[in-house]
């Protein structure tokens, strides 16, 4: 379980690092453009890819903490014997949807892998996209754990 904790720490750190790099790069670009009349060619692409990484990493952590935006109208209204099986179904459904998304993401980036397209500064596109299958797979796994643990979708 210690390993899992380290993994969570690593995930959190990546998320924080993504924002810090975004801030630093964006400021650097402003500085270069306004005072040195230049700029890094790859910075723009890098910044935009960070948006995707923040989206996926943030959503991964949100899944771990059951902190996703949801509508949740019925949990207070329905009696438990109706609500509980529906919630399990919703969890199972979420596992299936995320797993499907992960599966097709792998197919998608394998095309890019074969094409060897470069996103920025020698980094291939498939590396930037790799967060898509990883993120969806991790979320599928977490919904599965949630179902086994009989957890709610929301923590607080």
């Amino acid at each position: 379980m210690k390993f899992i904790r380290y993994l969570h720490r690593f995930e959190d750190s990546l998320l924080v690092l993504a924002l810090v790099s975004m801030l630093v790069m964006a400021l650097l670009q402003i500085l270069l453009r306004n005072f040195f009349d230049s700029g890094l060619l790859w910075a723009e692409s890098f910044l935009r890819i960070l948006v995707l990484w923040i989206a996926m990493l943030g959503a991964m952590v949100a899944t771990r903490e059951r902190n996703h935006i949801s509508i949740n109208l019925l949990s207070r209204v329905l009696p438990p014997q109706v609500y509980t099986p529906l919630r399990n179904l919703a969890m199972l459904f979420s596992v299936a949807v995320c797993a499907t998304a992960a599966w097709y993401s792998v197919a998608y980036i394998s095309y890019e892998y074969q094409d060897e397209t470069i996103a920025f500064a020698g980094v291939p596109v498939w590396v930037c996209q790799s967060i898509l299958p990883i993120g969806f797979a991790v979320m599928a796994l977490r919904f599965l754990i949630g179902m086994v643990d009989r957890a709610e979708f929301w923590g607080r």
Binding site: V16, M22, L23, R48, A59, A90, V97, T100
Partner: protein
């Protein structure tokens, strides 16, 4: 299969299945039924990287979270009450102005009620305002300022509509400008109501003191330039939105961490993490809704919807009434981000055909959502206020209802007088 699938997804959505799964599932179902391979899903989500504007979302949210951790709320209340406290109904105005400013930066995520409302409520009661009135005022103010830059929902509306490639494009800057007068109208109407309803009460106005006012300004000296950087930078066109977001983040960090020292460096990773979990969730919802919108457009759903509505609605005027009713209901059920990503792809093409300007529509949309925040039975701010102030939900219903009518009146003006939103803009 399509109908049955949609029904299952809808039921699970109301059970509390995360919204991104709901939209992702709907998109998958749609593509399956139309026989399009699902590889389109990651392709669409990856389109998040095509929108440089999105950079502004994490950066502004980060600034908002840092500001919420600092003692800015205390300083803000002090400075506004020093300058406005002497007026009739002055303290109420203080509350409106402070909350509007705070919400613009923190995006109406309930932070305003928790951080600012908790300060204002005891101050109002002490100033002689009745408790129910004060409670209603504070809860209502929790979503005031949604129309002001750089509020997250406003940016998000712009981003989503820009993705749709409409014939009548606009910039985020125009959206920011359009929000000013409607937001002002709301504050003015609320102020008039507050003065009128408290006219028989024995209120202790604060006498204006030059030294107190000066001192409060001195305390705020580092934060006063903030709106200038954000708003001035954006409105004047000196900064792109994402650049303004980066500069704001840097400035907020310098002021709150290194000058005021109210936010410890140690606390920053935690704050960043919390802010990014919120933004990440919203960005992913946006990503999957890009896929869903693509499906809707492919399947020509907006056109079909338009043809259907045209069978019983002719005029723009009737359409707007219907729009208000639907949005108010939605605002009471859904949170603002869900409502934005679900409804914009359907409503915007429709509204354009009825001749509504997309900028004006955005303001109407958000103004409705703002009222929805405290519409019974389940407006989000009612629950936050109930939790924070330890009052029953029923008490909050009673407290907020009169304010709701004031804002509904404002909403009607905002909806039927497009000039209010478009006054400073050059849009025909």
């Amino acid at each position: 299969m399509g109908a049955l699938g949609s029904l299952v997804i809808a039921v699970l959505a109301f059970i509390g299945m995360p919204l991104f799964v709901v939209i992702l599932a709907a998109a998958m179902l749609g593509f399956l039924v139309s026989g399009i391979p699902l590889t389109v899903i990651p392709v669409e989500v990856y389109r998040l990287v095509d929108t440089p504007l999105l950079l502004a979302l994490p950066l502004f949210t980060f600034s908002g979270y840092v500001l919420a951790e600092s003692r800015l709320s205390t300083r803000l209340v002090r400075v506004t009450s020093a300058f406005l406290g002497w007026m009739p109904g002055g303290l109420a105005v203080v509350a409106y102005v402070t909350c509007a400013f705070f919400t613009a930066f923190t995006g109406a995520s309930g932070v305003t009620i928790v951080a600012v409302g908790a300060l204002l409520l005891p101050a109002l009661v002490e100033g002689g305002y009745r408790e129910r009135f004060s409670l209603g005022l504070v809860t209502t103010s929790g979503s005031l300022g949604l129309l002001l830059a750089p509020s997250l929902p406003l940016i998000l509306y712009g981003v989503i509509v820009q993705q749709m490639d409409l014939p009548n494009p606009f910039t985020i800057r125009e959206l920011f400008i359009a929000g000013i007068l409607p937001a002002l109208l709301m504050v003015v109407l609320l102020t008039i109501y507050s003065i009128w309803t408290t006219r028989h009460d024995d209120l202790q106005g604060e006498a204006f003191s030059r030294s107190v006012a000066w001192q409060s300004l001195v305390d705020m000296k580092w934060e006063i330039p903030l709106p200038v950087i954000v708003l001035g930078g954006i409105y004047s066109g000196f900064f792109a939105i994402s650049e303004a977001a980066a500069v704001t983040a840097l400035y907020v960090l310098l002021v709150e961490v290194f000058i005021h020292r109210e936010v410890a460096v140690r606390a920053l990773p935690g704050i960043i993490r919390e802010a990014m979990v919120m933004v990440g969730g919203i960005l992913l919802i946006l990503g999957v809704s890009l896929a869903f919108t693509n499906f809707l457009v492919d399947a020509e759903v907006p056109q079909a919807l338009f043809e259907w509505i045209r069978t019983f609605i002719e005029s723009k005027f009737t359409f707007l009434i219907l729009l208000n009713l639907i949005l108010l209901a939605l605002g009471a059920i859904l949170d603002i981000f869900s409502a934005l990503v679900i409804m914009i792809p359907l409503i915007v093409p429709l509204a354009l055909r009825f001749g509504v300007d997309p900028v004006h529509l955005g303001i109407i949309f958000l103004a409705n959502m703002q009222v929805g925040y405290f519409t019974p039975p389940i407006g989000m701010n009612l629950f936050i206020a109930s939790y924070r102030f330890k009052k029953s939900i029923a008490e909050l219903y009673r407290a907020t209802i009169p304010f709701m009518f004031v804002l509904l009146f404002a909403l009607a003006i905002i909806t039927y007088v497009p000039e209010l939103s478009l006054f400073f803009l050059d849009r025909g």
